[in-house]
Amino acid sequence: MPAVTPLQLRAIGKRFGRLAVLRNVDLTVASGEIVGLIGANGSGKTTLLSIAMGLLPMSDGERWLGGRQVDDISIEQRAAMAFVTHTTQLYARLTARENMELWLSLRQAADASVGEIEPVLRRLGLGDAIDRTVGTFSRGMMQRLCLARALAGRPELLLLDEPFTSLDPPGRKRLAEVLREEADRGLAVLLSSHDYDAIISVTDRVVLLSGGRLVGEVVRADERGAEGFRDAVLALGRGSTREAAHA
């Protein structure tokens, strides 16, 4: 397990003109840790993830990747990161295999890893659909394919934006299992979600984003037990809705 911290965001601020989307956000994700990001719509979750991935320039603050401050994320650094969004980001006219092939061949010097496609897809329950056109997939299947594509690159840092939205309960369970397995191998995961149950089942730590700032944090402590963590996260969520109603 690498000793460095994959992702560290320090005092991140993002403004669009007079609108402050993010204010002074500090967030660290360690190797092997799954961090959940909760918050109401428009609280800046997607913006924060985009800034972490380097898809949006930040107005203030610093982004540290692997213990080094990074303004422009290099190709090598991007190769060690993966970003799965709620938009599917797949070519609908191509098959699952072709989508995966494109991604893997873009990453590597030779098409050597093409053999790895089938195991990865099978692991996410897409074994039967390898040669089907992605356009015929359900949303949940597309989401799983996206995750398979992200994991096939063996990233050190995985960013997920609403990964549970279109999955059925077995799909969620499987996603949670896969994420836990990868985290145990050292993957750092930051995921955003509305779905408290899913978040509670998979994360080690939950942070609440409200009005563009981090307002609360709950850590899954071993002695508290699953129920304690669950109650704490739900209380945090209730607090945010109360605050939103108050404001």
Partner: protein, 256 residues
């Protein structure tokens, strides 16, 4: 096996062949999708045919002298129309499920995305010119020199389409990521590409008139191509994702 690590030095340019390889992979990916449906080629080709028929109906009776002036205009106007159509479609395809953003997050050279898209657009435009130029030659006797000097004609068409494509790809991609309206594309594209098209227009007219300055105009067009491709390539990354050092923390002057 980890091929890369977050702790590697940023900007380690250790893969010189990566750019052409990735550009080719992306272009091939686009072409592969195109071969599933033939959507782009069919619409653009059909559009070219329609425009050609309309030109035939409207201008068939022009005198030979007038044709010399009209033919270059028809040629490059059609290229401009077909180009706008193609660029809109080619980036709509990336917008449908946000694949352009996925490419930006992937370990892909940004320049490779630009080159891949530009190559496909250029190929579609050249395909349309393969209908357009013979059609114009058949319909208008004054355009016969285009057929008599095939090498010059092909060079001219390639250089002209390249000039259009290089600028068009940059701004179509920029609009595709900024969540903007596609309507803005034509607003931006027509004034920006007109200088390049005017150069192509003048060269075409010189070719039709067998003017000795043709080679001069052609080399000017080639120089313009180099400038436009270089500039677009340089700007592409900055337009798609903001790059460069963060604004230096300025000491705030007191405000009173």
């Amino acid at each position: 096996m980890r091929e890369a690590a977050l702790s590697t030095l940023p900007r380690a340019k250790n893969a010189p062949m990566r750019l052409p390889r990735q550009a080719w992979l992306l272009a091939r990916n686009d072409l592969r999708q195109e071969m599933r449906e033939w959507e782009l080629v069919a619409t653009a080709g059909f559009f070219t045919l329609v425009v050609l028929v309309m030109f035939a109906l409207a201008f068939a009776t022009l005198s030979r002298d007038a044709q010399v002036l009209a033919v270059p205009g028809m040629l490059w106007l059609t290229v401009a129309f077909v180009g706008a159509l193609t660029l809109t479609r080619i980036f709509d395809r990336e917008r449908e499920s946000d694949t352009l953003r996925a490419l930006l997050a992937a370990p892909v050279e940004r320049l490779a995305i630009y080159l891949g898209k530009a190559l496909v657009t250029l190929l579609v435009l050249l395909g349309c010119c393969a209908i357009l130029v013979p059609g114009v030659v058949l319909l208008f006797p004054a355009a016969a020199p285009l057929a008599e000097h095939p090498i010059q004609t092909v060079t001219l068409v390639v250089l002209g389409c390249l000039a259009y494509t290089s600028v068009g790809t940059l701004f179509a991609a920029g609009l595709a990521t900024s969540g903007g309206k596609n309507v803005l594309l034509s607003v931006i594209l027509y004034p920006l590409t007109t200088p390049a098209l005017i150069f192509a227009l003048v060269a075409t007219r010189a070719l039709i008139e067998n003017h000795p300055d043709f080679s001069k105009y052609l080399s000017q067009l080639a120089a313009l191509d180099i400038v436009l491709v270089g500039l677009s390539g340089w700007l592409f990354e900055s337009v798609l994702v903001g790059t460069g050092a963060r604004r230096a923390p300025t000491t705030r002057r007191r405000r009173g």
